[in-house]
């Protein structure tokens, strides 16, 4: 049953990319434990607005764990303490009355802060532009059932394709590596027969782009997998590495 709790929030405030920023303390009072984390922030923001202060900026849209727009670090955990959960799906029943929560934006070199808890993740789009697609133009597709796909491959591809591009993996990685994000996309596409023709080129150019954008190398820390709200497995990184090696040794693309 629902009850209410009171919390102390230490929240990162930063006016813009050039501001140094710092923590600000706010009280969140009478928070129903049925609320989501973002609804708790809504309550604080309504209060700030009524006091004539600027509300805390944070990104969000679908509020059902699928758009990948939300994401903050709560007490050192990307998306908060629950596994396999986006912040918008994290409910306040997982916190206790009197808790202090430290709330920060994703911190990673390639993700610049825009304001308060909002960061720029356009680097992810740039990585996809480097080859995260199958080159088919509209109209030329063969009949959908001409190429059967083994059920197991289709399921593994779907597991990888479930990535929501939130950036928690990068935020959690000590090296700010985007290997889980890239590995998931490479796996999704190369597991399917439709994605095989471009596999080598894709692996090489996505990796290069990732390096160019300032993402770090994978140091096998596995922090990324631990925070991923969609449970994307690090076996996708291994698959990516295999694709990359194959491409580097055997492909004319290199």
């Amino acid at each position: 049953m629902s009850e209410t709790i009171n919390l102390t929030l230490k929240i990162w405030r930063q006016k813009g990319p050039d501001d140094r920023g710092g923590f600000e303390t706010h009280k969140a009072r009478d928070i129903s434990t049925d609320m989501s984390f973002l609804e708790m922030l809504d309550v604080v923001n309504e209060q700030l607005t009524l006091e004539g202060k600027e509300p805390i900026a944070f990104d969000h849209d679908c509020r059902e764990g699928i758009c990948g727009m939300c994401g903050l670090v709560v007490n050192g955990h990307a998306h908060g303490p629950e596994r396999e959960t986006t912040l918008c799906q994290l409910h306040m029943r997982h916190f206790k009355d009197g808790n202090t929560l430290v709330i920060e934006p994703w911190r990673a070199r390639p993700f610049k802060t825009i304001k308060d808890l909002v960061v720029d993740r356009s680097a992810f789009d740039e990585i996809i532009q480097a080859g995260g697609y199958i080159s088919v133009s509209t109209g030329g597709a063969p009949e959908a059932n001409t190429m059967p796909v083994p059920l197991e491959d289709a399921e593994l591809a779907m597991d990888a394709a479930a990535c929501i591009g939130c950036g928690a993996c990068v935020a959690a990685c000590p090296n700010a590596s985007a290997m889980l994000f890239v590995g998931a996309k490479i796996s999704h596409l190369t597991l399917l027969p439709q994605g095989k023709p471009e596999a080598a080129k894709r692996a090489l150019s996505m990796l290069k782009k990732m390096d160019d954008l300032g993402f770090g190398n994978c140091g096998n820390e596995t922090e990324c997998e631990a925070v991923c709200p969609k449970n994307i497995s690090i076996t996708n990184i291994a698959r990516f590495n295999r694709e990359f090696l194959k491409a580097s040794f055997f492909s004319p693309e290199k």
Partner: protein, 637 residues
Amino acid sequence: MPLNSGVPGGSLETKWDRHRFELKLVNPANKRKFEIIVVGTGLAGASASATLAELGYNVKTFCIQDSPRRAHSIAAQGGINAAKNYPGDGDSIWRLFYDTIKGGDFRSREANVYRLAQISDHIIDQCVAQGVPFAREYGGLLANRSFGGAQVSRTFYARGQTGQQLLLGAYSALMRQIAVGQVRMFPRREMLDLVMVEGNARGIVVRNLITGELESHAAHAVILATGGYGNAYFLSTNGMSSNVSAIWRAYKKGALFAHPSFVQIHPTCIPVHGTYQSKLTLMSESLRNDGRVWIPKSAGDQRLPDQIPESDRDYYLERIYPSFGNLVPRDVASRKAKELCDQGMGVGPTGYAVYLDFRDAIERDGEQVIRQKYGNLFQMYERIMAQNPYETPMMIYPAVHYVMGGLWVDYNLMSTIPGLFVLGEANFSDHGSNRLGASALMQGLADGYFIIPYTLGGYFAGTSLPDVSEGHPAFRESVKQVNETLKKMLAIDGKRTVDDFHKELGTLLWEHCGMARNDADMLKALKRIPELREEFWENVTVPGTPDQFNQSIERAVRVADFLEFSELLVEDALTREESCGCHFNVDYQTEDQEAQRDDESCCYVAAWAFDGEGKKPIRHEEPLVFENVELTERSYK
């Protein structure tokens, strides 16, 4: 104004082919001379942007979110229809057409709906080629499931994340075109005005949501694919940024708005449980394949659901509608749940919920099979409700979900403003007064991949357009006006927050123009909405400044537009003197309490024209002519 739908002649089956042949073509070398603006990157906008760019046009694409991949299409769960007839259970293009037009309670155009059914198969081909990981059978071929309003299995799906996978497909095609420079992408932009030159749509003004700057963008044509306006009701299954603003601003520039009151209320959502709630969560309709809807036979039965024996349960959908059972269309299922809860028969802490029970399906197929089909939905339910649906039935209640209404478009998907095209949920075209499950994704992709690439070419080839750049006075004028409105809003410095107004508006619409409507309530709403709007402009508080990242301004702009638009929504409902599909006016019902259409006098599209601030909008009618299907009472018994 005579509304010319421009439906081509010939038999239903040949219309689209013939039209494509008759449309003039743009020479490939000339395509690069045209600039096209696409607002929106959901299924409709992303697929249109990518395909037009592939053809050689220069495309500028805009969205509110930080990445085009986050458009609300991402949240669609259940599936997409197509007439492939893979299961061999009797499906055909004709049947998909018929089910869709009947499901819409005969308030859409035959020719549009038929074209949609024809295109449906190509969509699946296209998506598979892009790498959309649809569900498959053991043999490796594509799997199907059933959805409401149909007796065949024609829905393709990717677990409970079909929208996500289809959108990522369209997004990847878009990314490929950005990489080659054929599309320029402008994320974190919100369209605040449509710019017209000599009567044609020639550009837009957007607010850069990071810097607050108002930017002008000129083009030869503007495509709006800005999604639905269900958020007028405050609580809905839509994303937080879903809005009416883009199409509302176009309406105020002369585009007609069709069927604003046709709002779909989805039967299977997680019930409202607190006043702090910011949105409602859908539980996909696909669950009705295996879940059985029931309530206790006696009101106020306090026993836990698993302690209520079979004999004390009322599986009311199966009882009232034996041939469709739990798979009746959405409007029917929603209305029944509301009726019963209003009579005090509901369950849960608020009494506004019914059970959706998987016990029998789990007994029949095993938990593993159910987990494979619906695992992520069950998990989402458990997260929100803190109850395990494998062990205890879900509680569900209807919620605002989708809008059939939108800008009026002709067969070419062009609005009444030349050069302004409208795709996806933002137009009114294919779903009549009730959309069947799994057909919005189909329509968005049909519009974007397969219709607009032809019809836009036809427009360019047949129209001579002068050069217009961002320096044109029409842009300056528009920027000035938008700026003044924003300033005015910020200067009010009142006592109520934007959300507070939005909640009041939402409750008003839900209670006075929701699932069951009556004239007295609608008249009350028509009186209250202008008062609330006036109060907004006197007493709202919007902190911060306009020249920076400011989410309060974003919300205030959207709510100000909802406060204007809602009046049109109610006006439309009040003037439709019949019940049809989602629009159920209690004065027009059959003996069995089903919607009573009036085909004699209401078989038309109601399309509204803006006639100036403070003036009543003008209603136009496009008669709907049915040559291929017989208008029958929609029976699912």
